[in-house]
């Protein structure tokens, strides 16, 4: 039975990444690897088979020396709300095994490895390349299995995995709240944070409930410098980016020469 979408009252966890503060150091990736038992291989230079739940991309304005500028763009799973914000995210809509699902109480798109049989429809459907396939069984050499975290199950060959917004941390925070006789609604902003947000050494990643006015992300997402990736597709990602540079915001979507970034946001507002 499908849960009802009580969009106004449920939590909608999301992220705002300030690209002006992102230095491209890669700490978010490593914070994520260590939190989520992400495996590694001897050769990780083929990025198509390299498993990353968050990946830092490098953008350039393409101008010649010395006018060149670069900006880094970390990309976790966009946790799409889908068209009309009804939870029809592209991957959930195509999964034949209900291995990926939209959680109406948090807005988080799950991935259940033991249900996944590796058809990879979700990877084809995802416009953000956020999903990665386990072509091989993971191997932790020497004594490395000893440092694995019990909070996230290691995956196996033949399944798809992706960023979960560290959902296990939400579960732990929720359990703690229950134990302390508090309601889940009362979860504080700092009680549930993703590993990448915590690992970011410059504080470029802000995480919280986009529906909660007291959370930092609520204000940040309304900044004039805020944008989302491929907004035209109406996938309604819950990951927002901030950049003071127009050329960076332009790369958030496939704009025509005569279009201005931010145009889609305006159209979006008129629609809804």
């Amino acid at each position: 039975m499908k849960e009802k979408n009580d969009y106004e009252h449920s939590k909608r966890y999301g992220m705002v990444i300030d690209l002006d503060k992102c230095t491209g150091c890669g700490s978010c990736m490593i914070g994520c690897y260590t939190e989520n038992n992400v495996p590694f291989k001897a050769d990780e230079t083929n990025k198509l088979d390299s498993i990353n739940w968050i990946q830092v991309y490098k953008l350039t304005n393409g101008k010649p020396y010395p006018e060149t500028e670069i900006s880094y763009l970390p990309m976790p799973c966009m946790q799409c709300d889908g068209e009309g914000k009804l939870g029809h995210s592209p991957c959930v809509s195509v999964c034949p095994a209900v291995a990926t699902d939209y959680d109406y109480s948090t807005g988080i798109v799950s991935q259940i490895y033991t249900r996944c049989f590796g058809c990879r429809y979700c990877m084809a459907a995802c416009p953000y390349h956020a999903r990665k396939f386990n072509w091989w069984d993971p191997v932790w050499p020497a004594d490395m299995e000893k440092y694995l975290s019990p909070d996230v199950s290691p995956r196996m060959r033949g399944v798809v995995e992706k960023c979960s917004f560290c959902f296990h941390r939400y579960q732990l925070a929720r359990n703690k709240a229950y134990y302390e006789n508090r309601q889940t609604e009362e979860l504080g902003e700092d009680e549930y944070q993703t590993a990448c947000a915590e690992a970011c050494p410059t504080g470029a990643i802000t995480f919280g409930d986009l529906n909660n006015k007291s959370h930092a992300v609520y204000q940040l997402k309304n900044s004039p410098n805020a944008f989302r990736l491929l907004e035209r597709l109406e996938t309604n990602p819950k990951v927002y980016y901030l950049s003071s540079k127009k050329w960076v915001r332009r790369q958030g979507d496939n704009y025509l020469a005569n279009e201005e970034p931010g145009l889609i946001k305006k159209i979006d507002k008129q629609h809804h």
């Binding site: 503060k21 230095t23 491209g24 150091c25 890669g26 700490s27 990736m29 490593i30 914070g31 690897y33 260590t34 939190e35 038992n37 590694f40 001897a42 050769d43 990780e44 230079t45 083929n46 990025k47 390299s50 990353n52 830092v56 490098k58 350039t60 393409g62 101008k63 010649p64 020396y65 010395p66 060149t68 500028e69 670069i70 900006s71 880094y72 033991t114 069984d137 993971p138 932790w140 050499p141 020497a142 004594d143 490395m144 299995e145 000893k146 440092y147 694995l148 975290s149 019990p150 199950s153 290691p154 995956r155 196996m156 915590e198 690992a199 970011c200 050494p201 410059t202 504080g203 470029a204």
Partner: protein
């Protein structure tokens, strides 16, 4: 029944169809399919990490000298994650990729699990496991025999740094043993220390109050690429005030340049000239801090000594560095030089910082002096938002050393590397000179035994081939490394130290910090393997050597030594993990200088100016004599630093290598960055395979076109090209040190080779 072809087909078809239909009525296929699907959902080889109660233990990261506080998350007795420690004064919760992946160093495949003795040829990788007793006896016997032959000075020790109590313990050991040859790599901190000593007459390291500066002029310092303490620098960038401006000057658009308020491209190696050019404009337009210059400095104007000889003052010196001339040298347009000088001088708290990339190259003293003169012109000495002297860590006094005749004689021998000699009186160590000096000696090597502690010179020293040749001449090499690095792989014995998280280590003020801190890394886990703290190993060897050497070490073990040495601080450190010592803010201390003139001296004393004809000439700009013939090698190779790679003694973790972009490493090959314009003249395209040649060597590389690099340059990342370690690092890419040699600064002996001439041709 006659079976003909028709019948046969009919009956067979009927049998097959009937059989198929029949089998559908039995549960067998359904059961089988169910079993198969259940079977495919079993992954006995996939680990199921054991659960347990979650706890946290605080310690410090020891993977680089950055000294960041860490918080280790435990599940039961297992550490599962390292995170930044929020209330640590250095990093305030921020950590770099290396620190975050710290557990991979402990549990990874690069660890040396027990003492090893070499079996095959050097570097062949054939080892015999031996006991600690055998290992320590072997080393003790060798050291005893060198003393017996009255040759104690032929023992040398290479450490990663001279800071902290372990290097002090090693220093004490060598002294009482009779060898002055304690060597370590020099960094920009050493060059800045000398500049400080020359201008202010004080011993200490140079601290930068980046927290409070409002205009940061960075001469190629990778403040977001691993310069100083990375945790601190990232935190400062993330929390900086919006009015703080960062101007990054370097020929390549690094991550720091990308994040700076402004990036200014400059011809490589000419940063010193720019500093003098900026000083020229500031003085000419009278924008300097007149109060400070008049009252607290010496040598700004021309001066006459007691003998009646007139000397050039700083103001006269920089007259030669007009914006026009500096523009020609640096390639920076004249108006930009002028406006930069004005902005710098007009800012309330401007700060010039130096050290290219991560600051691992010391550079010349002239360069340091030129850059520090900018801070002096604005009077930003020991001021908020300026530079500070961070005093050297003082330790409790140890019992006096008794020395026998052998030790005294050995200690009177000059150092092998020439540091502290008449030629380089203020320099403490010149590891970069060691391979060349050993190779130039005919016959026996002056180093007969070498101990390597927390260092990997076979990888980190420039000119790898020369280093290997020199090491071949050393008959006895002992590595105390925790990991199978290049030097350990080339050693005769490995006496493995505990890894990070397993051992005590005190960390003095990290590079660049403006005030003094002492951090203690406390072991949070039991040693995983049969390893021993190097301090304990050395105390054991000292005790076995007997005589005065034994007497010099009354401590039972390293922990007792550490507690004794840190005395007053020990209990505090054990409890809190870190101590902050506030700078002396009294006016008298702030502007007191220990120079001959008791002032800040723009034109330091003669002793350092060996290379110059006028022995009293002030600092000037002398370009480094970069190796290579311009006709044969039309391009310049410059190494660059990245926070995702480590070019230092502790190499990349598998996770760090995993984050390396496909534009930096592709399978086993490094990508070099060149400007598309340069590529065009060489008929190279994106992804072309090419051969990179320098006077030092050759490497196969892939071409990556990058608009963000000055035409005519080739950029190569530091931290790749390892030959040792496991498959997660070995054989990936090119080591910059294979291709670049060392160029000596005539005043200090420091390495000032920011690059080398090179050629790139289609493979």
């Amino acid at each position: 029944m006659k079976i003909d072809r028709r019948n046969f087909l009919t009956y067979t078809t009927a049998a097959v169809l009937g059989g198929a239909a029949g089998s559908m009525l039995t549960p067998a296929p359904w059961k089988l399919m169910d079993d198969v699907s259940i079977w495919t959902q079993n992954w006995p080889w996939t680990p199921v990490p054991e659960a347990g109660p979650v706890t946290h233990k605080q310690s410090a990261c020891t993977l680089c000298p950055g000294g960041c506080g860490i918080n280790v998350r435990f599940v039961g007795t297992r550490p599962v994650k390292i995170e930044g420690l929020k209330d640590h004064p250095v990093n305030k919760g921020s950590l770099c990729p290396m620190g975050l992946s710290g557990l991979q160093y402990v549990y990874g495949p690069d660890r040396v699990g027990s003492p090893l003795k070499r079996e095959g040829k050097r570097g062949e990788g054939k080892w015999k496991k031996i006991t600690w007793n055998e290992a320590l006896t072997a080393v003790t016997d060798k050291l005893a025999s060198l003393r017996k032959s009255e040759n104690p000075q032929s023992l040398a020790c290479i450490t990663g740094s001279s800071r902290g109590t372990l290097p002090s313990l090693i220093g004490r050991f060598l002294t009482v043993y009779g060898s002055p040859n304690l060597l370590r790599p020099a960094t920009v901190q050493d060059a800045n220390e000398q500049a400080l000593f020359l201008t202010q007459g004080k011993q200490g390291t140079l601290g930068f109050d980046i927290e409070n500066a409002d205009f940061i002029l960075s001469f190629g310092s990778g403040i977001l690429d691993g310069w100083g303490s990375p945790g601190r620098m990232f935190r400062l960038f993330g929390t900086r005030k919006s009015e703080q401006r960062i101007i990054q000057i370097e020929p390549r658009l690094s991550n720091t340049a990308a994040k700076a308020s402004r990036w200014i491209g400059i011809n490589p190696g000419t940063e010193g000239a720019l500093a003098l050019g900026l000083a020229h404009v500031i003085i000419k337009e009278s924008l300097y801090n007149k109060n400070f210059i008049e009252k607290f400095t010496f040598g700004f104007n021309d001066w006459t000594d007691d003998a009646g000889i007139t000397h050039t003052g700083f103001a006269t010196l920089v007259e030669a560095y007009s914006p026009e001339k500096v523009s020609q040298i640096t390639g920076i347009p004249k108006p930009l030089i002028e406006s930069l000088a004005r902005e710098f001088a007009a800012s309330p708290r401007p700060l010039a910082i130096n050290g290219r990339g991560q600051g691992t190259l010391p550079g010349s003293i002239d360069e340091s002096l030129a850059m520090q003169s900018l801070n002096a012109l604005t009077g930003n000495i020991n001021q908020i938002g300026g530079i500070y002297i961070v005093p050297e860590q003082t330790y409790a006094k140890w019992p006096d050393l008794g020395m026998d005749a052998t030790a005294s004689k050995g200690m009177q021998q000059p150092r092998i590397d020439g540091a502290g000699s008449d030629q380089f009186p203020n320099t403490r160590s010149l590891l970069n000179r060691l391979p060349g000096l050993i190779n130039s000696v005919k016959g026996d090597s002056p180093v007969q035994a070498l101990l390597v502690v927390d260092a990997n010179p076979m990888y980190t020293l420039p000119d790898t081939a020369a280093t290997r040749k020199a090491f071949d001449k050393i008959p006895f090499i002992v590595s105390f490394s925790s990991y199978m690095d290049e030097t350990a792989a080339y050693a005769d014995y490995i006496l493995p130290d505990h890894a990070n998280l397993e051992r005590y280590q005190d960390i003095p003020t990290p590079a660049g910090m403006a005030h003094q801190t002492i951090t203690l890394a406390t072991p949070v886990i039991e040693p995983l393997y049969d390893t021993k703290h190097t301090g304990d190993a050395l105390i054991h060897i000292a005790k076995s050597l007997g005589g005065f050497v034994e007497e010099a070490f009354p401590w039972d073990d390293y922990e007792t030594f550490l507690a004794d040495t840190l005395q007053d601080h020990w209990s505090d450190l054990k409890e809190k993990g870190v101590i902050e010592i506030s700078p002396d803010s009294k006016d008298s201390a702030v502007l007191s200088f220990n120079t001959a003139s008791a002032k800040y001296e723009f034109c330091p004393a003669a002793a350092t100016r060996q290379g110059s004809k006028d022995s009293n000439a002030p600092s000037a700009y002398t370009p480094a004599a970069i190796e290579g013939d311009e006709k044969r090698f039309s391009l310049l190779l410059v190494p660059y630093d990245s926070i995702r790679l480590s070019g230092e003694q502790i190499a990349n973790s598998p996770f760090m290598t995993k984050t390396v972009e496909a534009t930096v490493l592709k399978k086993q090959m490094t990508l070099v960055e060149i400007n598309p314009k340069t590529a065009k003249t060489l008929a190279l395209k994106e992804g072309s395979k090419a051969v990179l040649t320098t006077p030092k060597g050759k490497a196969s590389v892939i071409v990556h076109l990058y608009e963000g690099i000055m035409p005519g340059l080739i950029a190569l990342p530091r931290g790749l090209g390892h030959t040792a370690y496991s498959e997660f690092l070995a054989g990936k890419g090119t080591n910059t040190n294979d291709l670049i040699g060392s160029v000596e600064d005539p005043a200090s002996g420091f390495d000032m080779a920011w690059g080398i001439r090179a050629q790139l041709s289609k493979a």
